[in-house]
Symmetry: C2
């Protein structure tokens, strides 16, 4: 099967601008064009777009994705580079998830605090109420840096 750019827009949710941009950046090196330059995407191209989405979601920049695609097209000699890319990504994602967990705690604390503040009409709970001070101490290294 082959698809026009309009079909691919509908399938992927990407804009036609973005699809052409990706191509210009080397992310879709095998998209075919007819005599008058009109693109015809293959199922293979669509699979690449799925993979590109995944790599983007994992935080890779476009030039890193291009590098991966180049490695892929070079064949088995680049298997170690590709492994190493995924290892690094996994480590970065682990850090990112840990980071988000920390941030989530802080935001949850703030949400709780403000829920109570809205109930009573002021923010004094932050510095007066034992339960909030306790929570703050449990969650943060320098609790007083967190009353803003």
């Amino acid at each position: 099967m082959s698809y026009s750019i309009g079909d691919v827009v509908k399938k992927t949710g990407l804009s036609a601008y973005t699809l052409r941009y990706y191509e210009k950046e080397g992310l879709l090196p095998f998209v075919k064009k007819n005599a008058s330059g009109v693109r015809a995407y293959s199922d293979e191209d669509l699979r690449w777009l799925t993979m590109i989405e995944c790599l983007k979601d994992s935080g890779l920049q476009i030039k890193e994705i291009r590098q991966y695609i180049e490695w892929f097209n070079e064949g088995d000699s680049t298997l170690p580079q590709r492994l190493s890319l995924f290892e690094n990504r996994r480590k970065i994602l682990e850090k990112e998830m840990a980071r988000l967990t920390v941030v989530m705690n802080k935001i949850l604390y703030k949400e709780l605090l403000y829920r109570e503040a809205v109930r009573v009409g002021n923010l004094d709970v932050a510095t007066n109420e034992r339960r909030f001070m306790h929570l703050k101490k449990k969650l943060f290294e320098s609790p007083d840096d967190f009353d803003k």
Copy 2:
């Protein structure tokens, strides 16, 4: 206590450029300057920088952080807006963590696959080996979109 911009650079790891930029963007509305324009940061300013870091880490844009700071300085009448900001952030962080978990599975699958591919010298494991096909099916809706 009061701190020069150089002191604050050392304490926060932010560049002097960035500190001046934040101020220009309204994130530090109360930094004092002496007669010749030299900044003197207070402990209060440092606490704001800690809070700004947290809000940035949670994904807020600079203009949203400025909005929060303006609300804070307007006093108790803006408690509901601030609560709502933290609720929204919490929801966004929840989605983000869920998203990262999904991405992590995909990257982990790739890492595993490439570890084996490097061991045997080719990528055929992806389409031939039962255990990888099984894993793929478990992890993804459209498993065949994921062989790139």
